[in-house]
Amino acid sequence: MIDWLLALAQTLLFISMAPFLLGWIKRVKCHAQNRAAPSLWQPYRDLVKLFRKHTVLAERASWIFRATPYIVFGAIVLAASVVPLVALDLPNAAIADVIVLVAFFSLARCFTALAAMDIGTAFGGMGSSRDMMIGALAEPALLMAVFTMAMSASTTNLTEAVTYTLNSGLVLRPSFIFAMLGLMMVAVAETGRVPVDNPATHLELTMVHEAMILEYSGRHLALIEWADQIQLMIYMVLIANIFFPWGIATQLTANDLALSLVAITAKLMLLGVLLVIWETVMAKMRLFRVPQFLGFAFLLSLLGMLTHVILETGG
């Protein structure tokens, strides 16, 4: 019972940390591009503001349009709950393994894409078409990366995988490096960051994700934004904890948990900085160069898989 509560607590922690992470990234970015930076808490303020606002719906919006934010939020939060953030061996990790995790993302994506077409605006259709295309290409890459990990750990259960890397200590696995790079590129694509998409843009022709949620307002928008922040964080936690699990709590003792909390925060902030650097040096690319980008991600993950088969198990 207690560990179920812990699991709940971890999930809550997870979703409450997500805006903070975004705030951190924005702040660092501003510094990097020497602009005046908003406070770390800005994302929270935005959410609260949106929650307070009245919601305006287009006349033609059907129930799908209204249900989507909740479904998306639900799926993403559930996804967040199965990712080991600070502690391992929590029971909820068994609810869904990493493949299901990926499926949660595609569930969210599908509903967003549907909702985008509900009103019948040209932008909605455009965004949804593009997003489904990107998703269709990102998902296999993501799965390949995951499979590499799963094969060497011979499990798709995240906790087990993390434990495996912990126990096997520091081993230099070419497959893991490839897989990690692949995973990072996919993360960039899936969370709609530069160079695939630009979260800050509102230039219609370059929008992908933004175009889909143009018609949302008020709390619906808030939920979707929050879900996106959580998704970004999920990716970063995955990268952090699967490939550098050190510091995560293996026993549920107070100081272990505290330690791992510190550890993960540090790791996330570090990753955030990396992301900022990446986004700063990169330029947004044309839509039809995205497939090449994702193709490369897929190639990396595939290489990871093959090196695993060839070099590490010596078949």
């Binding site: 009245h54 939020f73 559930l78 595609s106 077409m117 998902e139 390949m144 897929f298 898989m305």
Partner: protein, 675 residues
């Protein structure tokens, strides 16, 4: 009293419904109600018989005094056939609810086709399918198999005013015939060695690996052709859509499965020792079918044709499952083999349900709007709310989204693929993950495809007047779709329970169940062991529900008034339906990325303004994305035969002297040969 009795009842009522329909030309209601009622009984009996045999884990056999004097009809129902029997039953039940409403338009005056024909061959078609599942010797199997093909051919040719339909029907019958011959030959190989055509004899005997492989190749060709594997698939998307929709549902939903049943029966039950090379073939063909199937589907805008192509994709997934299982069995990992088989079986079940549902949905749309073209639809969610819900469920589960049945089978397939490291051969270990990646790609593309379908057909604004005026279909049709939709959800939420029932099939075929799959109760699905992978569909389903609900309740405060207003759309003024993304536009990015897959014919005609040549008055855009297998495979063979015929034709010159010379020289030649 045994399952076989119920099976006979099912057969009888199928036949009866066909016979009863003979009077339908005079009394249309005989078909709409009488036959449909009988079909309903047929479905019920089939479900009962099937599930009985499945749960009982026994098999009962029987002989009918028909057929050849020395080869009676051997019939038998066992868990395997029981499983498929109940799938057929479910679909038949659904269409029996659906048909009365759907057939109303066929009974209108001025409708030129004979209703008797429709009813008769529907009955025979179902009868044939059920009989195939019962067959226990090659002779009955072939008879019922071809009966199934022929009667479905008549249904495909039913609306034969359009030349395209005639062509499709001809192609279908031809391919069915060729496939049938291949299967016959495959059985011939087995019978040649066992000396008898009964399946028992075939089970008993041992084949040399070479002959076994030959037999497998023939069977794979025949059954694969019927199942629509690439590159022999081209007939399928032609034939399945042109039949009346409830028939399309049966063809795509069940007939394909019957073909796969044949393959499973042949390989797992009759041939004997499975070789892993077969599995590899199946895996590669399956992966190819999956990818090409979904890509072809993506570019179709005729709803039913799109669905037919997606059937090819799903057959590919099933083949992948079977292939993996064969590889594992062939290399001695029976337990994993069971897992793969289970994945395949589960996907067979899921696909039957959601593909049937989607075809019925397409039929409902056509019934309400007379439209098959996506680009004329739109906004149906407001005109046909309930159909929209059912169709959405279908779309979600075919896209393999969690907590629905489509996802379970894909997840199981992935889990099987992930067990590749146990294999000794490095080649297999590296091929299987690639195949898995292809599966992943196809799954994502399928999601894109069906988001397109649903978005274009049901969301947005109506693109044509008839669609704008559509009305919700009658209660029967909704009931038919509803049944399947509910089943999609149920089989999605309680996979462990279902699997523990299906377990009888691998039990019978391989003497080994998948014990760990449902070892941890109905809540947890743990195919190998909880340590390796676990999935709890019920928890996922309810968790998402609960979170969504909580967030909804938390947010419905005073602050949260909802105001309706015009769409913002970045402030661009009034919207109209022609501004929306069409199906073609939606799939354009994919088309550009995977361009080499199709034979693309695109042409754009600009009509310039007469006064100012720089100004364009209108643009006409035509896009044809043709299936490559036509230009690569079918047309060459056709022209080859014709060329041969032309050459042969020359020997008949019309001159009697030549003819006399023929007989003269034949005589001389023979005399010379024999002396």
């Amino acid at each position: 009293m045994s399952p076989l009795i119920l099976a006979y009842l099912a057969l009888a009522s199928a036949l009866a419904s066909g016979v009863l329909a003979l009077g339908a030309d005079r009394y249309p209601n005989l078909l709409r109600y009488g036959s449909s009622l009988l079909l309903g009984f047929c479905g019920l009996f089939a479900i009962l018989a099937g599930s009985w045999a499945l749960i009982d884990e026994t098999h009962s056999t029987d002989q009918l005094a028909l057929g050849l004097p020395w080869l009676k009809w051997h019939l038998r129902i066992d868990p395997l056939s029981g499983f498929f029997f109940s799938i057929v039953g479910v679909l038949v039940l659904a269409i029996s609810l659906y048909a009365p409403g759907y057939l109303r338009e066929f009974t209108h005056q001025g409708h030129r086709q004979s209703l008797s024909v429709l009813g008769l061959f529907t009955g025979l078609f179902i009868f044939g399918m059920l009989l195939v599942l019962l067959a226990d010797d090659a002779f009955v199997f072939m008879i019922s198999w071809e009966l199934m093909s022929v009667s479905s051919y008549f249904l495909v040719a039913y609306q034969h005013e359009h030349a395209a339909n005639r062509r499709a029907a001809f192609l279908y019958l031809l391919m069915a015939h060729v496939g049938g011959l291949a299967i016959l030959l495959g059985f011939g190989v087995l019978a040649g060695f066992s000396g008898s055509y009964t399946f028992d004899a075939m089970r008993a005997m041992e084949l040399s690996p070479t002959w076994a492989s030959i037999a497998f190749a023939l069977a794979f060709f025949g059954f694969g052709m019927k199942a629509g594997m690439v590159p022999l698939h081209a007939w399928l998307p032609e034939a399945h859509p042109v039949a009346p929709s409830h028939i399309s549902a049966l063809m795509s939903g069940v007939m394909i499965k019957v073909a796969i049943y044949g393959l499973i029966r042949f390989v797992y039950d009759l041939v004997g020792d499975i070789q892993w090379q077969w599995g590899l073939v199946l895996l590669i063909v399956g992966a190819t079918s999956t990818l090409l199937g979904v890509l072809y589907a993506l570019l179709r805008n005729n709803l039913k044709r799109l669905l037919a192509y997606s059937s090819i994709e799903n057959v590919g997934i099933i083949f992948c499952g079977l292939g993996l299982s064969m590889i594992f069995i062939g290399t001695g990992h029976t337990v994993l083999g069971v897992l793969g088989l289970m994945a395949a079986l589960y996907h067979i079940l899921s696909h039957a349900l959601f593909k049937g549902l989607l075809f019925l949905g397409a039929g409902a749309i056509a019934h309400a709007t007379y439209e098959y073209d996506l680009n004329n639809m739109g906004g149906l969610i407001r005109r046909m709310p309930q159909t929209a819900v059912f169709f959405l469920i279908g779309c979600l589960s075919i896209s393999g989204l969690p907590a629905l049945n489509g996802f379970v089978s894909e997840w199981l397939t992935f889990q099987t693929a992930l067990q590749a490291p146990v294999l000794a051969s490095g080649v297999l270990r590296s091929i299987i993950p690639v195949a898995a990646a292809v599966l992943a790609l196809s799954a994502a593309l399928a999601a894109a495809c069906f988001v397109k379908v649903y978005g274009v057909a049901f969301l947005g604004m109506a693109r044509s007047r008839r669609v704008a005026r559509a009305r919700e279909v009658d209660i029967g049709m909704r009931a038919g779709m509803g049944l399947l939709a509910v089943l999609c959800v149920v089989f999605g939420i309680f996979p462990s329970t279902v699997i523990s029932i299906i377990d009888a099939v691998p039990m019978m075929l391989l003497g080994h169940g998948a014990p760990s799959a449902s070892a941890h109760g109905w809540l947890w699905l743990t195919p190998v062991s909880p340590k390796v992978a676990s999935y709890s569909a019920p928890l996922v389903f309810f968790a998402i529900l609960v979170i969504a609900l909580i967030s909804y309740l938390l947010l419905r405060g005073e602050a949260a008034k909802i105001r309706r207003g015009p769409a913002w759309d970045c402030g661009f003024g009034s919207l109209n339906s022609r501004m929306q993304y069409t199906g073609t536009a939606y799939s354009m990015p994919i088309q550009r990325i995977f361009a080499p897959v199709w034979d693309i014919k695109e042409d754009v005609e600009e009509t310039r303004n007469a006064v100012q040549p720089l100004q364009t008055d209108g643009i006409r855009h035509q896009l044809q994305a043709l299936d490559k297998s036509w230009s690569r495979l079918y047309e060459p063979i056709g022209s080859l035969v014709l060329a041969a015929a032309r050459r042969i034709g020359r020997i008949q010159t019309g001159s009697i002297h030549t003819y006399l010379a023929y007989s003269f020289f034949t005589l001389i030649l023979l005399l010379w040969v024999v002396t």
